[in-house]
Symmetry: C2
Subunit: 345 residues, 2 copies
Amino acid sequence: VTLDLLLIGFGHVGRRFADLLVECRPALAALGVEPRIVGIATARHGALFDEGGLDAVAAARRIEGGGVLAPAGVPAVDLMARLAKAGTGIPVLVETTPLDVQAAEPALTHVRAALARRVHVITANKGPVAFAYRELAGAASESGVAFLFEGAVMDGIPIFNLVRETLPACRIAGFRGVVNSTTNYILTALEEGEAFDAALGRMQAAGVAEADPSLDVDGWDAAAKAVAMANVWLDAGRSPRDVAREGLGPETAARARAARAAGRRLKLVASARAAEPRADVRVVLEELAADDPLANLDGQSNALELDTWPTGRIVITQRDGGLEKTAYALVSDLVTLARRRGARA
Amino acid sequence: VTLDLLLIGFGHVGRRFADLLVECRPALAALGVEPRIVGIATARHGALFDEGGLDAVAAARRIEGGGVLAPAGVPAVDLMARLAKAGTGIPVLVETTPLDVQAAEPALTHVRAALARRVHVITANKGPVAFAYRELAGAASESGVAFLFEGAVMDGIPIFNLVRETLPACRIAGFRGVVNSTTNYILTALEEGEAFDAALGRMQAAGVAEADPSLDVDGWDAAAKAVAMANVWLDAGRSPRDVAREGLGPETAARARAARAAGRRLKLVASARAAEPRADVRVVLEELAADDPLANLDGQSNALELDTWPTGRIVITQRDGGLEKTAYALVSDLVTLARRRGARA
């Protein structure tokens, strides 16, 4: 199965994805999957389109060296139209623009445009699934295309694929997880006596936290992830602005140290439970017992506990986070898509 | 997709599977999967066969009430021949006879006979995959049928499906896990000051350990599981008799208590690493640091850490074990099989 990919967004994740496609080419070929990047659209570094396929690795290096792709930028949606008309392969949008917690834009516009044109969508952006899952899943179904977003939560660790592919006929009653790495880093630093501002500054210097850290520190990222999962598994129909949400601040340091002194751990826990009329979703600081599977997560570790029937409580833990793992999530979505289109292992 | 099932072995797991098929019928129908039990073969309680489908739940209750299925037992392999010839649905052997660590019999004979007759195989028995994975995978491939065994390790928690369905194009360098519940129970009891014989006796009384507990206590069950995984993921080509294997005994109590006193946990760890010419597989007692993801597993909890590229270390933890979960593994294998045969979600 040949897949013709249009990349919208070509930041760290998108560029790492381009590299990973080359590194995984033999393994993908063995699965019957032949991806080909035909277009790249960026907000500030120009765009490229060649329906015969282009050298995305070279494009990545050019941008990393301070260059641009093409002198005049082409609107991303115009490239979508060319993709839908052009190729011989299956057209796929790979959306990796940054998260916007106010309205999920421009990702939502890109995803809608793709689905309307019968272009398959894979994305590492949690915005569309957190803000408009029902609408987008309905549009994808109507157009007969896939809408996949494994990278939206816990990087490349299978979460959505875990439930859909490996827990068929299971019921999910709820979940709880530590799903934001920056706050998890900061909480560990606070336990060790660092002050909040110092810990946050160190995270920013290391490139872990954003220049504007409120997305992480105020719990928005965790809320978007919790809502994404609740929308998919519990039909929550919520948005990130619509859930109980707690964040971290200077006052958190005393709580974190007190918990640690008592043999417990303070963690920012994102959770949801099935409820009528709508699932209950929340992001709150919780003191966890030392033997809680969410308690012993340091640094970039994330974990999610699913409460299922008949398989009981299942925890999946990511011990090594990072951009490369998010890029892998896009690769795994490509394989899911190709398998649905008849590729054979 | 209609699946015609022949159950060989109808113990706790097989009977629970029969119940679960009824409980999951709507969810399975939504996935396009219509299973129908057409035959049941037991070693000591007779057999039944009706190519139009039979009432397996009633049969389960009859056996639990001390009855038998049919006055004269029919050899299981004869039923396989009838299954292969009979039905209108896809023929599937569901093998749940007990584990034999010497030669994997009679399960191995049943699986070979099925694959030779182009009958798909799903099993919760770890013997065949631990003793003859290469041969059986080859035979299945040659016959164009499936050989699935999700229930062989960690009950219904996806392990084999996790890797195959959700980590495509990943490389696995090794794994380590706590995969035997009886020894995990005993180690926890030893830490709490119970004597080995008393702890083991309590497990037997509770029905957790076997009447002959050597399968668990001497590490055979863990070794069979480690070999099963190593054969599938690392092409180890080993058998359970062919790996370093440690067990528990009265002398283990002092080690468990000393570890606990030092803030560590003694666990029976099954592990494997890719190596030349063959993967290194072992089952050994290890002292784990308190924050090791395998350390905080009590009672029926199991966990497995996979060392993967590019996704790093992934841990999957089962917090609630038990027969029902093993029965679910067979249900999930049915769905995997049906999806390969074109059933649609």
